[in-house]
């Protein structure tokens, strides 16, 4: 099985501070890869570099066999590399359906159309409604996103990403701050969509990573400690010491 995403020796410094140093990892097609590590480990920085929002100082990135280092964020999205955000990043003045349709239109290649835009809009709205029904949020379709509850906003953030039908979905702490049953619902939706979609998942909650991921990468202080199956990671002494140990204590 070839790797869908290859991260090769990537590094990033902010002044004196090395946020990421020499990280190499790969993500196989179809798998769910967890990315865990304590605060400040560099997880989000790595996400930002993979999705093009930050330029690495060193290393290279390949997606589906092609180098993507020079691509702008939008171009990476066009290849199927889609992310969500740690804090839900929505369009607060727009209705929930409109938020999702914004993504669906772009996926359909009609994001910037004007003439004949009505048909594109209808199709995108249908797609948005389908996702909303799936998430059980159809009754909120017309609500302004700013008026939604936090859990609903998190869900919306995920639905927006899913509307782009990603090949690789990068989720940044999707369950942070959610009640357990909300988190379960959200994870269920992710799982339902992972046919044909690979997932890279940052999370604080180790149990989620162990339950949901095929493999787990552990970052600490900008370095990759290990990348292995959940069981192997759990047994890894360095990980236990740096991360799990602290939790277990």
């Amino acid at each position: 099985m070839t790797a869908l995403l290859q991260v090769e020796g990537v590094g990033k410094r902010f002044g004196e501070f090395a946020a990421i140093s020499d990280v190499t990892l790969d993500l196989r097609g179809g798998e769910t890869l967890g990315l865990i590590g304590p605060n400040g480990a560099g997880k989000t920085t790595l996400f930002n570099m993979i999705t093009g929002f930050l330029k690495p100082d060193a290393g290279s990135l390949r997606f589906d066999g092609a180098a993507i280092d020079r691509l702008a964020p939008a171009q990476r999205v066009a290849r199927g590399l889609v992310r969500s955000f740690q804090k839900p990043m929505l369009f607060p003045a727009l209705a929930l359906r409109e938020n999702i349709a914004m993504a669906a239109r772009q996926h359909a290649g009609r994001g910037l159309s004007w003439w004949g835009g009505a048909r594109a809009t209808r199709a995108a709205n249908d797609e948005a409604d389908r996702l909303l029904i799936e998430a059980g949020l159809q009754h909120r379709a017309e609500a302004r996103v700013a008026d939604l509850a936090y859990g609903e906003q998190r869900m919306a953030d995920l639905l927006i990403a899913l509307a782009l039908r990603p090949r690789l979905l990068l989720l940044d702490e999707p369950t942070a701050g959610l009640a357990p049953d909300e988190a379960r619902r959200l994870l269920a939706i992710i799982r339902r969509h992972d046919e044909g979609t690979s997932v890279m998942l940052i999370t604080h909650e180790v149990e989620i990573a162990f339950a949901a991921c095929d493999r787990i990468a552990v970052l600490n202080l900008g370095r990759l400690l290990c990348l292995d199956t959940p069981a192997a990671v759990q047994a890894h002494p360095a990980v236990r010491e740096a991360y799990l140990g602290a939790l277990a204590a």
Partner: protein
């Protein structure tokens, strides 16, 4: 639905017909001016109200189209479709150039870059005396015509300006409802997320600027024929600033508020100025009060009275 959608333009047309029948020469020309400048302000609303792009160089689009039309009219005669075509082309072309310069940076950088760009256009209009007439501008233009019909009188100008304003309002509404318009709102609301959705900010904003440029250009192309004159003031940044004031008084993001704001501003300037030298104080107070008390502008004030305001 379709009935109410038709109701507004019909009401607009009816109001226009009534005004055209009843008003005198001065009033009609004044209204034509309001409608033309209002159309330019409307195009600015697309940028500010929906894209969050505060351009302090919008007069450059309006004014350069006005110059282009006036210069062409001196050589080719002032045939309406030719003038409109030249104005739209010029407005779009200058907008394209402007976009390449100003759209690389955000907020205040954009404001200053637009100001500098606009002032460069002004300098060109001001210095290229052989073509633009320099500080004195161009006068003695032929009156507007369409085939055998002369359209130079106040009534025709008013009707033309009214049709252009209504048309532009329709275009603006369709733009805002279209995927492109929604994307523009997206870039204002959450530029980073837009990139994460695969939108390139530049291409969204650039297209919006082209649309605004074409609309401002169309309005600009008719403007010289209201007074058979065009001068460098129509390109100057102070007109850009005035357009922003008009827009805010009328209501940012409300589209038709652009006309309301323009009318209120120009009426204040024209009628209060006759009574007191302090008309600028009145404009300033009204403007600040609007920002403080009614940040959505007069348009939303009216709307709130009649029905619930639609979110843009």
């Amino acid at each position: 639905m379709s009935l109410s959608r038709l109701a507004l333009p019909m009401a607009g047309l009816a109001a226009m017909a009534a005004v055209a029948a009843l008003s005198g020469d001065f009033q009609l020309r004044f209204l034509a001016e309001i409608l033309l400048i209002g159309t330019a302000v409307l195009s600015l609303d697309l940028l500010i109200g929906f894209g969050g792009l505060i351009s302090l160089g919008h007069a450059a689009l309006f004014g350069s189209a006005a110059y282009a039309a006036a210069i062409a009219a001196q050589h080719l005669g002032a045939s309406l479709p030719v003038m409109l075509g030249i104005g739209i082309a010029m407005g779009t072309a200058v907008a394209a150039l402007m976009g390449l310069v100003i759209l690389r940076a955000g907020s205040l950088f954009l404001l200053i870059l637009a100001l500098l760009f606009g002032q460069i256009v002004w300098e060109i209009c001001f210095h290229w005396r052989e073509v633009t007439g320099g500080a004195d501008g161009l006068r003695g233009l032929p009156p507007l015509s369409l085939g055998p019909w002369a359209l130079g009188d106040a009534r025709s100008l008013f009707v033309l300006a009214g049709l252009l304003a209504l048309g532009s309002l329709g275009v603006a509404r369709s733009f805002v409802a279209s995927p492109l318009g929604r994307a523009l709102i997206g870039t204002r609301e959450q530029p980073i997320r837009m990139q994460a959705l695969g939108y390139t900010l530049f291409s969204v904003r650039f297209r919006a600027l082209l649309v605004a440029g074409a609309m401002a250009g169309a309005a600009g192309s008719l403007y010289p024929f209201v007074n058979l004159y065009v001068g460098p003031q129509s390109v100057h940044w102070t007109l850009s600033a005035t357009m922003i004031i008009m827009l805010v008084i009328g209501g940012v993001g409300s589209l038709w508020g652009a006309f309301l704001g323009t009318a209120v501003y120009l009426a204040l300037q024209t009628y209060v100025g006759a009574w007191t030298d302090r008309w600028q104080l009145c404009v300033g107070l009204l403007f600040v009060l609007t920002v403080l008390v009614m940040p959505q502008g007069l348009a939303s004030g009216f709307l709130r009275l009649t029905r619930k305001g639609r979110t843009p």
